[in-house]
Homo-oligomer: 290 residues x 2
């Protein structure tokens, strides 16, 4: 199951890009790794930490000779980066990316992917609230899912190589089509964030009339942490995965309305039964993990 | 600031009752502590762990001679417990309780409180997802808020004694009237739980059509933990604090609708600004803590 890339280019050496680079180096999956980014400081940190072997601010330079190109930048930047690299990729290079949504990005990027480039989107469902190369952690993919989303421009051997890469990084790998990926992620990740942002927004409003935030405890503090993620990243996700997120908000509203009615009508048994069903979700989720 | 109760009766030796008892013993605030409960096993555990010095299944026996009676049972049981103790309390005894809601409970219990009993409701905003005497932890109140909700049957010296008790247990103490208490708690605690239950309910529904739960990661797992709390306790809270909770659900729905519209209309800047405002909540919350 060995997998090896002599030269790797990682564009966007943040938490995910940096962690991938570090893991590939430690496992000797990657030979030389070139980082690409805009911020000098972050790239210098990455170099000092041994995450990358060199860096450039120009993606066109970074991809030259690379066997594997990883786009780990904000979603919105990807299209432009691929456009700028037209004709610069090594023949047979694998181009992958690790964005949180797929359909819209693939629709936009696919026409820009030239012949001889193997384009294989992936989504490692991993992360922390922290960002930047200095928080890189080669272990963050262990035991987590990585979804591979093959396109019309993905070769079978390329997909297999990427699968082996993620298995080597410790992930559990599943293949999905873009729509399924986006629907699943809207449910398990995007909706929870929207729900947390709405709660924080509601409490900020209520606090204006009745100061209450300073008393907040356990439960609400988890929401604060969730809503403490990058504003730009979540703005992008909401816009990139618009319809599936709106659909999940609708499903969610129905459940909220259902609880509200049970409370209004004081349906004691129904409420308890519903809460009890919710407790059962833990088992279903644990099935997907160890 | 010393406070001392020679004989204490704790009805409901669960997480909160047990933790209070343990803390009061360690700090030598309580002399002899009698536990009251229905489950033999839990009371035996509490006795073996040195949380209580003896126990009974009859509250009428437990309160005899007690200088402090703590009701730490489910909210719904309190009224009946107080009724059963009519005429059994020691003259000048302090009767306190630690339930999560106040208005309805006080309205029901107050008429049953006889002369010579000092009735002083409190709400320590502390807890864990675990329950039962064996999870007792005398430190769980440290740095957390305890809200004292005086009634018409609370004496000033009694309120002062209870304030000192909670300060000794490490809490920060605030006094509120029942309505304010219930409104604040609906916001910072009850609404977050309702929101988490609704999310879990929505995902259970969506999972039937598109299996997705097994892929769930970070964000959603916090919700699972929140929705993993006791179903009976949360049913009781929803019914005891009905109107304030319904009001907060309404405020919440408006925020959710607001986000949905921003996504639908692709209001990129507004979305980012809103998410950024939400990130700011951390500071407001931290003001109330250290």
């Amino acid at each position: 199951l060995a997998v090896k890339f002599n030269r790797v280019c990682v564009a966007g050496v943040g938490l995910i890009g940096g962690s991938m680079a570090l893991a590939m180096k430690r496992l000797k999956i990657a030979g030389r790794i070139t980082g690409v980014g805009r911020g000098e400081r972050n790239l210098k940190d990455a170099l000092a930490l041994g995450i990358i072997d060199g860096y450039t601010h120009n993606i066109e330079e970074g991809v030259v000779g690379a066997d594997l190109v990883v786009l780990a930048t904000p979603m919105r930047a990807m299209k432009e980066l691929v456009r700028r690299c037209e004709g610069k990729f090594k023949k047979g290079a694998i181009l992958t990316e690790v964005g949180s949504t797929k359909k819209k990005m693939i629709d936009e990027v696919l026409p820009l992917v030239g012949p001889g480039v193997d384009f294989i989107p992936t989504h490692p469902i991993a992360g922390k609230e922290k960002s930047g190369a200095i928080h890189s952690d080669p272990e963050i993919f262990k035991g987590r899912w990585c979804i591979i989303v093959p396109t019309k421009k993905s070769s079978k051997p390329g997909v297999e190589k990427i699968r082996r890469l993620w298995l080597a990084l410790g992930s559990r790998v599943e293949t999905m089509d873009p729509k399924d990926h986006d629907r699943v992620l809207a449910g398990i990740s995007h909706l929870p964030h929207v729900v947390a942002y709405a709660l924080v927004g509601a409490l900020l409003e209520m606090d204006k009339k009745n100061p209450m935030l300073r008393f907040s405890a356990g439960g609400f503090r988890d929401f604060i942490r969730i809503a403490g993620s990058s504003s730009q990243m979540w703005r992008d996700i909401c816009l990139e995965n618009k319809q599936p997120i709106i659909d999940t908000i609708e499903s969610y509203r129905k459940q909220l309305e259902r609880i509200k009615i049970m409370i209004e009508k004081e349906q004691s048994e129904k409420l308890e039964q519903f809460f009890e069903e919710c407790r059962g979700v833990k088992e279903l989720v644990d099935k997907g993990h160890d």
